[in-house]
Amino acid sequence: MAQNAKVPFNGTKAQADELEKVLKGLKNVEGALMPALQQAQDIYGYLPIEVQEVIADRLGVSLAEVFGVATFYSQFTLTPKGKYKIGVCLGTACYVKGSGEIYAELQKQLGIESGITDDLVYSLDATRCIGCCGLAPVMTVNDDVYGKLTKDQIAGILAKYKA
């Protein structure tokens, strides 16, 4: 039943210090949980149990409550992202232009359904519209955008992003 990330937690001291600073600033602030989770995700890239426990403890709420909020909003993620975060738009325009095929090709080449590859280099997510329907179908790798894609371009794009 438990959802254990396959990736062991290896947060750094710098990250922990930054989180403590954020949480100190949110102490006794009403409705602090959401901003705390957002900033924690900015620091760590995701929200593992170790991070949620610190948030729960410092803000004086239970871990179950923190977890409830973290699983309510789809923008929060409990699994880490890869060095290269790949997003494929499955919004209406991209989808009718064949982004489903692009997504399937990425799944095939990366060998994962979604989530992160075992070597932690790539993570794959389906996204909603990212606002450039003129370029449909679209995928992003970190902050780079690739448009008007066909599936035979995928191997070439992935080759640019090496471990």
């Binding site: 039943m1 949620q52 239970s62 871990l63 179950a64 977890f67 409830g68 309510f72």
Partner: protein, 579 residues
């Protein structure tokens, strides 16, 4: 004051009053499902909807505040149709195995469905996926019967301030669970069972041990011994239609015998034994400079809380086993020897108002004879169920008497079930031990009553003893904070996990939210115990003749080496989360 009309009846109420409260004032019940006074007014279930003249849609009466001149209608065809449809939608994703459900006839969803004449199969659709959580020895969560009212969450977060459960995910996937989808057993749950008591359906119930007990009774090799806790006699009658606050001790004893128990003793007796050891420990700590303040250790939910959340205070907890565990321990050592039988032949069943006791029996360091002190724990509800299953007409029974010798108790033992009872019982014995003189007045009234935290100062033999009594974990937490920061001068602290003490334990008969709101149930059940105490000829544990006999001929004196081996235990620090 605000003046409004409900169903054309004028009523004036204070500003900020909800429609639900205003209607109650003039004798109108608006049905509710998720609502619980003070802790869960969230307008989630939409059963309490009413019509407000001029409003665009129906409004939820439990959260809607009154306005001057407002006209409310609580029972129009539109309102009734809406409630009915809402119920039918809830039922469309409900495991409707009502016929043999644990809550059949005690289910608020069932009552409402009947009241609104619902077609339980009107909508057929997807059912949310869920597995039963049977990970703990005390509780079963079956989310296929959950209506997402969040009453369990509210009691866990707001009354107990433990907060190990909550809504997880969103929309159709929403379910009540623990952080990181851990099993309850891998969460810092204190096992109080208060969530069961407030659940309106059969989604939560205790882990039953009826089959195990029946198997032992059927086994000719086993001598099966029953020991009911003080609070069981104060609650059991409710299951058979007696008004709340009826003492059914005599009928309970007869029923236990009819169920096939070979001996019917009483945990009131071992409560007396607990006092002997605990008062002695307190006096020793005071006189020899031991760790103070000393906490009581009778409530396994409380002990579990401390182990999870304040492990640094473990040295402050009395090492005495709880009355349940002392009961089993003395049965399987002293009594086994007296009978001349091997303790493996004895099967000890305690009957408890409590779910945490099911966890406690499996703790390490609880097998004085080499065999577990306690073999099975039945809740008050399970005992009622067995009595009904066996066709025993409880209300027709004549009063029975307990067996000798481990059924003899004093008034001090019987008040254990109410918050402040252990404190009072311990003070009766400690005071006489310290002063060496008989008490003029055995009643320590300042520690009585259902208040969450009580404090009192007593002069005992020229020494000032400041005591505190807390019930409910939210209150226990306040005391723990003070103690861990060294900000208190208490000598002795009694803590009970459940608000009001064991009479309101997680294994007691179920009350609907309406009964809960309108009855002073903690005080009513506690009154049974205080009345029983008053009627007892002996009211101090050390006056119990059986206790005297056991110390004279078996244990030596309180706190002796042998007493420690049999009647004391140890505690462990617990990790809150499995990673």
């Amino acid at each position: 004051m605000v003046n409004i009309k409900i169903n054309n009846i004028p009523v004036s109420v204070e500003e900020g009053t909800t429609i639900l409260q205003a209607a109650k004032k003039i004798g109108i019940r608006i049905p509710t499902l998720c609502y619980m006074k003070d802790i869960n007014a969230i307008g989630a279930c939409r059963i309490c909807v009413v019509e407000v003249k001029g409003a665009r849609s129906l409004v939820a009466a439990c959260v809607y505040p009154v306005n001057e001149g407002m006209e409310v209608f609580t029972d129009t065809p539109k309102v009734r149709a809406s409630r009915k449809t809402t119920l039918e939608l809830i039922l469309s994703d409900h495991n409707k195995s009502c016929l043999s459900c644990d809550r059949n006839t005690h289910c608020e969803l069932q009552d409402l469905s009947y009241e609104y004449g619902c077609d339980i199969n009107r909508f057929s659709g997807e059912h949310h996926e869920c597995e039963k959580d049977v990970s703990t020895p005390y509780l079963v969560r079956d989310n296929s019967k959950c209506v997402l009212c969040r009453r369990c969450v509210a009691v866990c977060r707001k009354i107990q301030e433990v907060g190990v459960i909550g809504p997880v995910k969103r929309g159709f996937k929403t379910h009540i669970g623990c952080a990181f989808e851990n099993d309850l057993n891998d969460s810092p749950c204190v096992a109080c069972g208060q969530c069961i008591n407030v659940c309106p359906t059969g989604a939560l119930h205790e882990r039953e041990e009826i089959d195990e007990v029946r198997a032992a009774i059927a086994d000719p090799e086993k001598i099966v011994i029953a020991g009911p806790a003080p609070s069981v006699r104060a609650g059991l009658g409710e299951e058979f239609g007696y008004p709340m606050g009826t003492n059914v001790e005599g009928k309970m004893i007869t029923a236990l015998r009819m169920l096939g128990f070979d001996k019917v003793f009483d945990v009131n007796f071992s409560a007396d034994l607990t006092i002997m050891e605990e008062a002695n420990e307190l006096v020793e700590r005071i006189q020899k400079g031991g760790k103070l303040p000393m906490f009581t250790s009778c409530s396994p939910g409380w002990v579990r809380y401390l182990e999870y959340y304040y492990p640094e205070l473990i040295p402050n907890v009395s090492t005495c086993k709880s009355p349940q565990q002392m009961f089993g321990a003395i049965v399987k050592t002293y009594y086994a020897e007296k009978l001349g039988v091997d303790p493996s032949k004895l099967y000890v069943v305690s009957i408890m108002p409590c779910t945490a006791k099911k966890f406690e029996k499996g703790r390490p360091d609880q097998s004085a004879s080499g065999y577990p002190d306690i073999d099975a724990v039945l809740t008050t509800r399970e005992l009622a169920k067995m009595i009904k299953q066996n066709g025993i007409l409880f209300n027709e029974l004549v009063d029975g008497e307990v067996d000798s010798p481990l059924g003899i108790y004093t008034g001090a033992g019987v008040i254990f079930g109410a918050t402040g009872g252990v404190m009072e019982a311990a003070l009766r014995t400690a005071a006489e031990t310290i002063t060496g003189k008989p008490l003029e007045n055995v009643e320590f009234k300042k520690v009585r009553g259902t208040k969450g935290i009580k404090e009192a100062t007593y002069d005992i033999g020229g020494k000032t003893v400041k005591v505190a009594v807390a019930s409910g974990i939210a209150n226990a937490k306040k005391i723990c904070e003070k103690v861990s920061k060294g900000k208190c001068d208490y000598t002795f602290i009694e803590i009970m996990c459940c608000p009001g003490g064991c009479v309101n334990g997680g294994g007691q008969p179920i009350m609907s939210s309406v009964v809960r709101e309108n009855t002073d149930y903690k005080a009513l059940r506690a009154s049974v115990l205080y009345k029983a105490d008053k009627k007892c000829g002996l009211r101090k544990s050390h006056d119990n003749p059986v206790i005297k006999e056991i110390y004279d001929n078996y244990l030596g004196k309180p706190g002796s080496h042998k007493a420690h081996e049999i009647l004391h235990t140890s505690y462990v620090k617990r990790e809150r989360y499995k990673k």
